[in-house]
């Protein structure tokens, strides 16, 4: 009995002493919230990490560290040399890539995050038009830059016009056959972060971008929108009138026919919304009908234009290939790629204005 107790104690002590794991005490770490990559000439990468400095009185200030290296991992580990506490990446919120880096391909950078178990798959990826370092060194209100950018992007994804994307979705659209990833494109404009448009990728290389004004149509083709706004412009009797349509929710449905011979995709887009502002005279059910027509035409035109552009560039951000693949047996990727360029895509838009506000029926 005594031997047993001593033996158990001994095992406990040995296991607990030699079985220790490395501690990461929160206040002895620099927790990076954003990391950005700039291209610095040939084969040189500048990595910038943003770490919030939390003072005892709870105010947060920014600390940015930039290093240059050949590999992204090397540049990141060099950040540690310049910091008085170990830098960890478990709370990374956003990863930013300059346009140049994105055009060269972000395969290596993504791979690091993909492998690292402490990086969450909800990490936001974004492409920056301009210098990333400059953007990260900017200070924004009471937040650190990482959280600030994350907040701005994620609320614009939820109720704005940026298509939902994060590390997980990026990887999934990258690995899915018949689908290409999309990332938001932002820029620093007058000390503010401005959403400039979308960066379109072929694989992990950025090949093109679409401007902000096309983002509504893109998002409605990409996924269902919950809350968004849209502006319509009409010219009637030489007078320019504007509609503001709010609270838009959209649904889309795919229809793929003749998959084997000559595939044809039909997109049914249903848009629901209400009028909140109108610069013309009085809103009535007729104006609502007018707005419906206008919007239908405009969205259809824009959508067709976008899809043509994608076909020309041979990219498939709207996942037509994935839609076709999931509807057929023996889907042939190679043949699909040949067919894709000349595929016929029909867009059918159905707009419904559900209400025109509390001044319903008021004739002025």
């Amino acid at each position: 009995m005594k031997k047993k107790i001593i033996l158990t104690l001994l095992v406990c002590i040995i296991v607990s002493y030699f079985g220790r794991i490395e501690k990461e005490i929160i206040d002895e770490l620099e927790v990076a919230t954003a990391v950005g990559f700039d291209s610095k000439g040939k084969n040189k990468i500048e990595a910038t990490a943003v770490m919030p400095l939390i003072k005892p009185d709870k105010t947060i200030s920014n600390k940015t560290v930039s290093t240059i290296g050949n590999l992204s991992k090397e540049a990141l580990s060099n950040v540690n040399h310049k910091s008085h506490k170990p830098v960890v990446n478990g709370k990374l919120e956003v990863a930013l890539y300059s346009k140049k880096v994105a055009e060269a391909g972000i395969q290596d950078y993504i791979d690091t995050f993909h492998r690292d178990p402490s990086v969450g798959s909800r990490l936001l990826l974004t492409v920056v038009d301009g210098e990333v370092k400059e953007m990260l060194q900017e200070t924004f209100e009471e937040f650190d830059t990482g959280s600030y950018i994350q907040k701005q992007l994620s609320h614009n994804m939820e109720r704005g016009l940026i298509p939902t994307s994060n590390l997980h979705l990026f990887l999934s659209s990258y690995y899915t056959k018949g689908m290409d990833p999309v990332l938001p494109l932002i820029e620093l404009k007058d000390d503010d972060i401005n959403i400039k448009g979308l960066a379109l990728f072929k694989g992990t290389k950025m090949v093109d971008s679409i401007p902000f004004r096309n983002m509504f149509v893109f998002k409605s083709l990409f996924e269902n929108i919950k809350m968004a706004g849209y502006k319509l412009k009409t010219k009637e009797k030489g007078k320019t009138e504007y509609f503001s349509i709010q609270g838009i929710s959209t649904r889309k449905e795919f229809d793929v026919t003749h998959i084997h011979k000559a595939p044809e995709v039909t997109l049914h887009l249903k848009i629901k919304g209400f009028i909140r502002e109108y610069t013309g005279e009085g809103v009535s059910s007729k104006t609502a009908e007018k707005a419906e027509k206008l919007m239908e035409n405009k969205v259809k035109k824009e959508a067709e234009m976008l899809i043509k552009k994608f076909q020309r560039k041979n990219i498939d951000p709207l996942a037509f290939g994935e839609q076709a693949r999931s509807r057929t047996r023996h889907w042939d990727e190679k043949r699909w790629n040949q067919q894709y360029k000349n595929m016929k895509v029909n867009v059918k838009v159905d707009v419904m204005i559900s209400e025109i506000g509390v001044v319903d029926g008021l004739e002025l």
């Binding site: 607990s16 919230t33 402490s118």
Partner: protein, 412 residues
């Protein structure tokens, strides 16, 4: 009693009898019980106080206590077996059960264990509780001790066995289960919805009390990824000036709370108020301002201490105080995995525990779905028609549901 047996005379006179002899040299005499029982009056329960319901509690006299039980169960089936335990103290110990309701095996276990006790002195029922419990190496009490005669009457009717000890205001109840320790008698005095919610809160409070400080230590030591980003600033800023690692900080604060509790329990009531001031202001506020402890941890530890007071049975609260420390140690060693390991050990231990040979973790394991009616929640009385399976009563039905459901109200 007329006797001429010298031994009996000696024994009786030592326990307070008078011997009357007609002539001085008579070898026969009349023994008359004339003991004086100085006992406390029946007062309101202090440990298991309830706002509603009866407010009687046991006292130190066995006779009074038996009377308190008997008046709640005036039936001939209520049997009382008396033993004298303790070679020096000769303490009267009574085992109570209702024959026909209590399980034969349970009765025999209790009678045999109490009858076989060999000890020189029994000063309180907790002596007996420790000596007859199934596993005396366990920090968990395996018999409920209560000072409420109504609780005793209640469990007797369910088929439990109660042990009363002369000189102790606490009755022991067995066999019992873990969840019973979290049910207060007051749960039966208020309506079932409220009682159920209170029970769930109590169970939550206990798990909170055990886990919260270890989780704090584990997360701060190993899993900074788990901290929500909005909480990050609060945690880091409160910890930034603390010289101690999280584990030592937590350990010191936990020990401080234990000190306060111990000091509060030992001091006379008049001086006890000082403890509140010393604890609250000096230790709490001053140590945060001096930068020795973080105020987040102070809140956590205080909440954990508060939560551990919600157990209706005092001894269970003590057990919970104790098992926090192994959790804390393992959290320091291996983080959340360590807490997992500690939990596995705890579960393994509770699974193996028995009370009078009946499983302690019932109705969770072995799963007895029917007994859940009065475990984590308390369902209404009309659904409590059967005695708990755990007690293996030969008479399973308490009342007929059909008859109870009959509506005899007259309405138009």
């Amino acid at each position: 009693m007329i006797t001429n047996d010298l031994e009996t005379i000696q024994k009786m006179m030592l326990t307070g009898s008078l011997l009357i002899r007609l002539k001085e040299d008579d070898n026969q005499g009349l023994l008359v019980k004339a003991e004086m029982n100085k006992a406390r009056e029946v007062t309101i329960p202090e440990e298991e106080f309830s706002v509603v319901g009866p407010k009687e509690s046991f006292v130190e006299s066995l006779t009074t206590n038996l009377n308190l039980v008997r008046k709640r169960l005036p039936i001939p089936q209520l049997e009382i077996k008396e033993f004298t335990v303790g070679t020096l103290s000769c303490t009267r110990v009574a085992v109570l059960y209702i024959s026909g309701i209590a399980n034969e095996e349970n009765i025999n276990t209790a009678l045999q264990r109490v009858g076989d006790l060999k000890y020189h002195q029994i000063l309180d029922s907790s002596y007996i509780a420790q000596m007859i419990s199934d596993n005396d190496n366990s920090p968990f009490p395996q018999l409920i001790d209560t000072e409420r005669p109504d609780r005793v009457a209640g469990v007797l009717a369910e088929g439990s066995i109660v042990i009363l000890v002369d000189g102790s205001p606490h009755a022991l109840i067995g066999p019992t289960t873990l969840v019973k320790f979290f049910s207060a008698l007051e749960d039966y005095f208020i309506n079932w919805q409220l009682a159920s919610v209170l029970r769930v809160i109590r169970l939550f409070a206990v798990s909170f009390s055990i886990l919260v400080t270890p989780v704090y230590v584990a997360v701060l030591n190993y899993h900074y990824e788990l901290i929500p980003k909005d909480l990050m600033a609060t945690l880091v800023s409160s910890r930034s000036l603390i010289p101690l690692p999280p584990f030592l900080e937590a350990l010191i604060l936990e020990l401080t709370i234990e000190l306060l509790r111990e000091a509060g329990a030992r001091l006379p009531t008049k001086v006890g108020q000082t403890i509140g001031i010393v604890g609250g202001i000096v230790i709490g506020t001053a140590s945060v301002e001096a930068g020795l402890t973080s105020n987040v941890l102070l809140i956590i530890v205080a909440l954990a201490a508060l939560a551990s007071f919600t157990t209706p049975v005092y001894k269970m609260g003590n057990a919970i105080r104790l098992i926090r420390f192994p959790f804390l140690l393992l959290a320091e060693l291996w983080g959340l995995i360590g807490i997992g390991i500690a939990f596995i050990f705890l579960m393994g231990h509770i699974l193996r525990l028995t009370s009078f040979g009946r499983p302690y973790l019932e109705p969770i394991y072995p799963p007895r779905l029917e007994d859940l009616k009065d475990a984590f929640v308390r369902l209404p009385f009309k659904m409590q028609e059967k005695r708990p399976i755990e007690l293996q009563s030969p008479d399973t039905v308490m009342f007929s549901k059909r008859k109870a459901d009959e509506n005899k109200d007259i309405d138009e």
